[in-house]
């Protein structure tokens, strides 16, 4: 199998390399790619959508339909991981408790309902490590600012690099940081799987919903100009606001999906003990 693999790879590589000469030069401004359609975007984006960031303009308006399916791809991935990994909630589990004062650990086999933490005992993972003060305090300090930065990235998608996806990833990362620094259960207690499921479908629903709203208002699907009547502005500004609404939806979807995938992957579907 290995030799076959090597032969095909080398063959493909050589074949590609031979034809490299045919390609336009590296940064040639006159290459077909930069002279056919993209000049229109560069010149008319601001006039059409009042959004200086051309990438966001193309992303959410000219090729907004593509991006809707992009959000659907992320949503499908989240749903797929849930569908494949999630195990039914079996009650009986091996549960560990630790006495706060003395450090004695209890192991309860197939206990039914999991008892709450009390003054004396608190629940721990199987590979429990005493919390490190430095990690706990820095993460507790860091997470809010990470989230604020994410909101900044979301809001300024029009004027500076950024947008829905990037904001969603940063938000997701903040919660995952929480799950890693403490333990999965504390992160799950903050955001339950149910909210994640609903939030992720809600995010993409906002995106597709605005598109469908434009359809209902008589224009073509995802044509934010139709929202002018609702938003009370002229068509160009309506497009800019439409892009913002859509970016918010995407951020929501991306955040919840990333966390959802992390919950399932790290605990292999049981969602009780993470990494």
């Amino acid at each position: 199998m290995k030799i076959l693999g090597r032969v095909t790879v080398i063959l493909c590589g050589l074949l590609l390399l031979v034809y490299v000469g045919e390609f336009p030069d590296f940064a040639d401004p006159q290459s077909p790619a930069s002279t056919h359609v993209s000049p229109y975007y560069i010149q008319n984006a601001l006039e059409d959508t009042a959004v200086p960031n051309l990438v966001t303009a193309i992303l959410a308006d000219y090729r907004g339909y593509d991006t809707m399916f992009e959000a659907t791809v992320i949503f499908t991935a989240g749903l797929a991981c849930f569908f494949l990994m999630r195990l039914p909630k079996k009650e009986e589990r091996v549960v560990f408790y630790r006495h706060r004062a003395t450090g004695v650990t209890l192991r309860i086999d197939d206990c039914g309902a999991v008892p709450k933490d009390t003054q004396a005992f608190h629940r721990i993972d199987s590979q429990w490590v005493p919390r490190d003060l430095i990690i706990r305090s820095t993460t507790r300090l860091l997470i809010p600012f990470v989230q604020i930065y994410a909101l900044y990235v979301l809001a300024h998608g029009h004027h500076s690099p950024g947008g829905g996806f990037q904001a969603g990833v940063v938000l997701g990362a903040s919660i995952i940081l929480l799950a890693i620094s403490q333990d999965l259960r504390s992160a799950i207690s903050k955001i339950k799987e149910k909210t994640l499921g609903i939030l992720s479908s809600l995010g993409v629903l906002i995106y597709a919903g605005t598109g469908f709203l434009c359809l209902l208002l008589g224009e073509s699907f995802l044509d934010y100009g139709a929202l002018a009547s609702l938003l009370g502005t002229d068509r160009v500004m309506a497009r800019s606001h439409g892009i913002l609404i859509v970016e918010v939806g995407v951020a929501m979807a991306v955040m919840s999906v990333l966390i959802w995938i992390y919950y399932n992957l790290s605990s292999a579907g049981k969602q009780d003990e993470g990494l």
């Binding site: 590609l16 034809y19 000469g21 045919e22 390609f23 336009p24 290459s31 077909p32 790619a33 930069s34 002279t35 056919h36 359609v37 993209s38 229109y40 975007y41 308006d61 000219y62 090729r63 907004g64 339909y65 593509d66 399916f69 992009e70 659907t72 791809v73 949503f75 499908t76 991935a77 749903l79 797929a80 849930f82 569908f83 494949l84 999630r86 039914p88 149910k194 499921g197 609903i198 992720s200 479908s201 809600l202 993409v204 629903l205 597709a208 919903g209 598109g211 469908f212 359809l215 224009e219 073509s220 699907f221 995802l222 044509d223 934010y224 100009g225």
Partner: protein, 500 residues
């Protein structure tokens, strides 16, 4: 209203899928009805568009976001895509309705997620068929693949491994297609298919376009499981749960072939593919190899569904070979076979679903004595088998009719021989099954009223599975009888002028 249908048939299932996924966390009973309603709307829209396109003779166009041509994304619904859309939405609807019981039994809490993924898969296929933008096709290809990996992943004990292999090869195929689109974009600067079709004739001899063609073709061949790169299909389709297999098996490879035809005809024009590159001959030989390989390895299988997967690979060879014959008969045979083969495969996989539901095994021995205990199912099964073998008046015969005529017209008698060989092998395959169902268990009771249908008791499948199945098997005959009209009124419009 009608001109918004190209958007509605894809957005409605998408919105429904999102709704279902959300609601499945609140209360799962509502998921199934919403799914069926969404597919019903989508199917009705597709039929309305087909009727409109056939009656007006003009392709429907839909601009997303209001942007025209190369700037935005445009959907084009012409004769062939409308026909394929009807097939996709119809089969998805019938399969969902008929596998309601299996979904509830096998996937207890996850039925909401299943229906959502089911709808996303269908929306992806619908989008791929209707899209007029090369990159949008890649995104939809990925949605279909991802939901396909998930649907297949939750099946029998070996399903995750098969799905993972499918994922690896599927990603290679999709990425090759993406590189192909990249090469096209570098050479022409546009992603819109109509726009590409105007620019490419000017660059006939450029190597970049040649490599774009090679990459797109390899990508699609991997995704439709042509002979050398078919490794993923047998495992994926036979290990999946029966509702998932009932959806994925009949549709994926056929839509991939539709995309192959769409790209060869509307993007790289006919002159480029057949005259400039003259690639027809090699592709037909590749198709012959696929047919022979598929048929021969189907003989060696004992598991019924695994045997079907190899037959699917052989059928892919029919369609690709028919298309690359390059004459009118061959192409119309290939296009007609997309429709016929989808319906036939759905019928056969519904039989697998019913047998697994009743006999708990999809091995060949599960068929013992079925003629006596499940006469109606076996009647439909015989009809589907006859259609695969190619016996008139079923539709399988008539698509072979066009394919063989195309082969004879092109003077490619090896392709005709491969078709005949494959029909004979199919005959052996299915009559082997009939023997098991008819003879075994060997009753030594020659005389006396043997346990007739009454005594052993007809243990038929539940009505909700049986009625759609019988309707589909009857559809095989209706499609067969109307195949002449389908070809003259719909498919001949899809073949460009340059083909005699």
């Amino acid at each position: 209203m009608l001109n918004t249908f190209p958007a509605i048939i894809i957005v409605v299932p998408l919105l429904a899928a999102l709704l279902i996924a959300g609601i499945s966390f609140i209360d799962r009973r509502a998921c199934f009805p919403i799914g069926v309603a969404a597919l019903l709307i989508s199917f009705a829209g597709a039929v309305a568009m087909l009727v409109n396109v056939v009656s007006t003779g003009v392709a429907m166009e839909y601009r997303f976001g209001g942007w025209a041509g190369p700037m935005g994304i445009v959907y084009v619904i012409d004769h062939l895509s409308a026909l394929v859309l009807v097939v996709i939405t119809g089969i998805a609807l019938v399969n969902l309705v008929s596998s309601r019981q299996t979904i509830i039994d096998e996937l207890k809490e996850k039925d909401g997620a299943f229906v959502a993924l089911y709808l996303l898969f269908t929306a992806g296929l619908v989008g791929m068929t209707a899209t007029g933008d090369a990159f949008n096709l890649y995104v939809l290809l990925e949605i279909t693949s991802l939901s396909g990996y998930a649907l297949i992943g939750l099946g029998s004990e070996r399903a995750p491994l098969a799905s993972l292999k499918y994922l690896f090869l599927g990603t290679i195929g999709a990425t090759f297609y993406l590189v192909g689109v990249g090469y096209l974009y570098i050479a022409t600067g546009s992603l819109n298919m109509v726009d590409l079709a105007t620019i490419i004739p000017g660059l006939m001899d450029s190597g970049v376009i040649l490599f774009a063609f090679i990459f797109c073709m390899t990508g699609l061949f991997v995704k439709m499981a042509m002979f050398p790169v078919h490794g993923w299909l047998p495992g994926a389709y036979s290990e999946a749960s029966s509702p998932a297999a009932g959806l994925i098996a009949p549709l994926t490879t056929k839509v991939m072939i539709y995309i192959l035809i769409r790209i060869c005809l509307s993007v790289f024009s006919v002159e480029y593919v057949f005259a400039n590159l003259d690639v027809g001959q090699i592709m037909v030989w590749l198709a012959i190899a696929t047919i022979v390989f598929g048929s021969v390895s189907a003989l060696a299988q004992t598991n019924y569904r695994r045997m079907l997967t190899y037959i699917i690979i052989a059928e892919v060879g029919y369609m690709v070979g028919g298309f690359f014959l390059g004459n009118k008969m061959g192409m119309s045979g290939a296009m007609l076979h997309i429709v016929n083969d989808a319906v036939m495969t759905l019928c056969l996989f519904m039989v697998a679903g019913i047998v697994v539901n009743r006999m708990k095994t999809d091995d060949r021995d599960g068929f013992k004595g079925l003629f006596r205990s499940m006469p109606f199912t076996m009647a439909g099964f015989v009809l589907a088998a006859l259609s695969i073998i190619g016996v008139p008046p079923t539709c399988g015969f008539f698509s072979k009719w066009y394919l063989i005529l195309g082969g004879v017209a092109a003077g490619n008698y090896w392709f005709v021989a491969a078709l005949i060989f494959s029909s004979l092998v199919n005959a052996v395959l299915f009559f082997r099954l009939f023997e098991i169902a008819y003879f075994e268990p060997f009753g030594d009771d020659h005389h006396g009223e043997s346990p007739g249908a009454g005594a052993v008791g007809i243990k038929e499948a539940p009505m909700i599975m049986l009625l759609p199945f019988l309707a589909v098997s009857f559809l095989l005959i209706v499609l067969g009888v109307y195949s002449g009209r389908i070809v003259t009124n719909i498919i001949y419009f899809a073949i460009p002028g340059g083909i005699i």
